[in-house]
Amino acid sequence: MYDTPNSERDVDQKEIKFSARKVQVYYGDTHAIKDVDVDLEDKTVTAFIGPSGCGKSTFLRCLNRMNDTIDVCRVEGDIRLDGEDIYDKRVDPVQLRAKVGMVFQKPNPFPKSIYDNVAYGPKIHGLARTKGELDEIVEKSLRRAALWDEAKDRLETPGTGLSGGQQQRLCIARAVATEPEVLLMDEPCSALDPIATSQVEELIDDLRSNFSVVIVTHSMQQAARVSQKTAFFHLGSMVEFGETGHIFTNPNDERTESYITGRIG
């Protein structure tokens, strides 16, 4: 895992999941995202890196329209998921979010049991018809989030009683329970200790086989470890996008280089 990513070979064969063109985001009068063009591939981990306030989280939240909940936020441009414009008037953001799951910076399990946390998504989307099916989904999701062994004996205990790392994995289990196609992760490890971080990173690597994962991170090592593609954001623009190995070893833009070497950020 800690070696140089060796997944560059097969990236080209993958189909495009998200394609964004000329995306602009405004918070009131502030122009937060400027002209972002990016193609995110299926079954790939894409990392967004950049200094604080550069707009990477904002852009991430555009991908499942979480920005809709902010009144002053306005999104322009074209973002397509499998060729479908997600900002089309006919698109229901709720349906979109079922397809594009999200894991947040701070672990935010519902103050309910572990089981209910995972089962909530499938329940509201009607993914399980019987209790048995629901049990299966919960187990499968917890296994995918590498939490099953720790949690299987305490499914009815509150999710808030878990440790920070476990909580974050629970949130990941909750996100994958609705069988999303894309998983957005907004600095998922920033509130975790190194051991929990490495567990989550391993998990992300596993998730790649089923999902397209987009991760926002402040840690360049993390980006290097888990991602195949990396996008560097600076001051609301996407400066550079490419193979992770390429970005970290031989960036095209000098701002990317400055950031990676620690001169800006």
Binding site: T69, Q95, F104, P109, G121, I124, T178
Partner: protein, 599 residues
């Protein structure tokens, strides 16, 4: 610090002085802190004292309503008097003339109670409600007609208050001589004692005369003021006619003053008279003798002799008896509701062991009544309950839905801002205004029955609504946005996120606010008076459209009644109200503690 320019500080450019306390500034600061602490302690002390005084006075008052008295008596259910037989249907039996029967029973026990005044006084010993209770009892058991039974007759409020010592206690004057009583030629009783047993009473009577004279002189002194005012007006008068009139007024005030002074002087002369008998009237203390199986009252007193009149039957004459007691009552008969004769009767009953004191459960089982001994708060309690039900079922859903909409869905624009400001303003509107609104809109336009819990509940719901909305909004806002994000993140709609996650988490806060709002509504009087819930209602309301009253209004009404016995009942009703309020607040606190979440 002032000389820091002169002295070079050791380092850093500023001298902090010694670490030990004692420098001027430090002392000042400490003094200021100490003062502030003291102010706080004083403030809390004042508040606590006020609370203790309030609760203390209410509870002391209310303690007089804790028990009630019964007169236990044998009574023969004479079918002739009540005019019904065992075959009469029960509801007719209940309406029969049991009042006459009760009256006859009392007159049989105290045969001297003829004549209108005495008869009325005797009737006041037992509550008017007692005969109805007897009627109910017989209606339930018609077989008792024609039988003799023992029944507990509820004592009247006056009897009850006397027994609780409200009119001052009878004091045993500890007579030591032998008593002789015989009937004189003029019909008065001649009383004499072998020692100067009436001397102390005589002194008291004279003392009382002095006190009366004093109060007359005070009154006379007040007339002085009137004289001065009229004289001044006369001096400033515009016309001769007016001047004349004012002078006349001044003259009459002066004459009145002179009368009062004369009267006082006469009383003082009477009191100062070294020898001779003194008349005892109903404005002076009462002196009573229990002897020969009955009671007498002194009408004229000297040291060892007196004139008396009979209060109850006494076997006369009495000669050199040592079996007698002399009682005095400080409160003049004219100043108390219970007459000397009634005291004699009650004391006789008490001596016979026929006065029974029991816990006053009637207070909780009876509805309102004009007679304090019959009055209870059941009607008001049920009325309050029904009103609160209506209030809750209207204010809670509307308030919570309103809060959710404003907090979660409403666009933030000028219109919603305007609504927000007005909801906050609504919370500060005087409650009587809601009463006016209820009267004008609900009663007059929509024809909601007046005096009904429905109308009261609607009005109180309007009053409580802003409290609930504000509390609910605060509670919803306190739910961390991460929970909402989490729900939205897994594809829940706004409504699902609100109702599945935000609302359950905010519920303890919302309920706390609601309970506090309801407690406010429970104690509200003014708006209910506007919509006619202040009426006198004897029936316990059965539904929300029946006429009803509520606890605080009941308190308000009772406090207005002239009967002394209502004082205790008012206080007792306040206690019940307070208990409910404390309970509600306790529930709110428990809810808050139990379900408080830390994120």
């Amino acid at each position: 610090m002032a000389d820091s320019t002169a002295q070079t500080p050791p380092s850093g450019g500023f001298d902090h002085g010694s670490l030990a306390a004692g420098s001027g500034r430090l002392k000042q600061r400490r003094a200021a802190e100490f003062r502030l602490k003291m102010y706080g302690i004083i403030a809390i002390g004042v508040a606590a004292a006020a609370l203790v005084a309030l609760l203390g006075s209410v509870v002391t008052q209310a303690s007089k309503a804790v028990t009630e008295h019964y007169v236990v008596s044998e009574i023969t259910i004479d079918p002739e008097v009540i005019g019904v037989t065992a075959e009469t249907p029960p509801d007719e039996i209940a309406r029969a003339q049991f009042g006459d029967l009760t009256e006859a029973m009392m007159e049989a026990q105290f045969p001297r109670a003829t004549g209108r005044t005495a008869g009325r006084e005797l009737g006041e010993i037992i509550s008017g409600g007692a005969s109805f209770e007897l009627g109910d009892r017989i209606a339930a058991e018609p077989g008792l007609i024609g039988e003799t039974m023992t029944f507990e007759f509820l004592a009247s409020d006056t009897t009850d208050l006397y027994l609780k010592g409200e009119f001052g206690a009878l004091r045993d004057a500890e007579a030591s001589g032998l008593l002789t009583v015989f009937e004189g030629d003029d019909g008065d009783l001649r009383v004499s004692s072998s020692s100067n047993d009436f001397g102390a009473a005589l002194r008291q009577v004279k003392q009382h005369l002095y006190e009366d004279a004093d109060s007359l002189r005070t009154k006379a002194a007040r007339q002085e003021n009137a004289v001065r005012v009229y004289t001044e007006r006369a001096e400033k008068a515009d016309s001769e006619e007016d001047r004349q009139r004012q002078l006349e007024k001044a003259e009459s005030a002066r004459a009145k003053q002179q009368d009062l002074i004369d009267e006082a002087a006469a009383l003082e002369r009477r009191a100062a008279g070294a020898s001779g008998a003194e008349k005892v009237d109903d404005e002076n203390i009462s002196i009573m003798i229990k002897a020969g199986g009955g009671w007498m009252r002194l009408t004229e007193v000297n040291r060892a002799t007196a004139k008396a009149e009979l209060l109850t039957r006494v076997s006369l004459p009495i000669e050199n008896s040592d079996d007698w007691t002399l009682y005095t009552s400080e409160l003049p008969e004219a100043d108390r509701k219970v007459t000397d004769r009634q005291i004699a009767w009650i004391e006789t009953l008490r001596d016979q062991g026929r006065i029974k004191e029991t816990l006053n459960t009637r207070f909780f089982t009876a509805a309102d009544s004009r007679a304090p001994e019959l009055a209870g708060i059941r009607g008001a309690l049920v009325g309050s309950l029904l009103t609160m039900l209506v209030t809750f079922s209207l204010a809670f859903p509307i308030g919570v839905l309103g809060a959710i909409y404003l907090e979660e869905f409403a666009p933030k624009n000028r219109f919603t801002n305007f609504i927000e400001v007005n909801i906050n303003n609504l919370a500060a509107v005087p409650s009587i205004v809601f009463g006016l609104l209820g009267l004008a809109v609900f009663l007059n336009v929509f024809g909601v029955p007046r005096s009904a819990p429905l109308a009261g509940g609607i009005v109180l719901a309007l009053m409580t609504l802003p409290t609930i909305i504000i509390a609910a909004r605060a509670a919803i806002r306190a739910v961390p946005p991460s929970i909402r994000d989490a729900a939205l993140g897994v594809g829940a709609s706004n409504v699902q996120a609100s109702f599945h996650h935000v609302l359950p988490l905010a519920m303890p806060g919302i309920l706390t606010g609601t309970i506090i709002g309801m407690a406010q509504a429970l104690g509200e009087t003014a708006p209910l008076i506007m919509i006619g819930m202040v009426a006198f209602i004897v029936e316990v309301p059965g539904s929300i459209t029946d006429s009803a009253t509520v606890l605080p209004v009941q308190v308000f009404r009772w406090s207005d009644f002239p009967e002394r016995a209502f004082e205790a009942r008012t206080a007792a009703a306040i206690c019940v109200l307070l208990v409910f309020l404390v309970l509600m607040n306790l529930i709110a606190i428990i809810l808050r503690r139990r379900f408080e979440r830390r994120w």
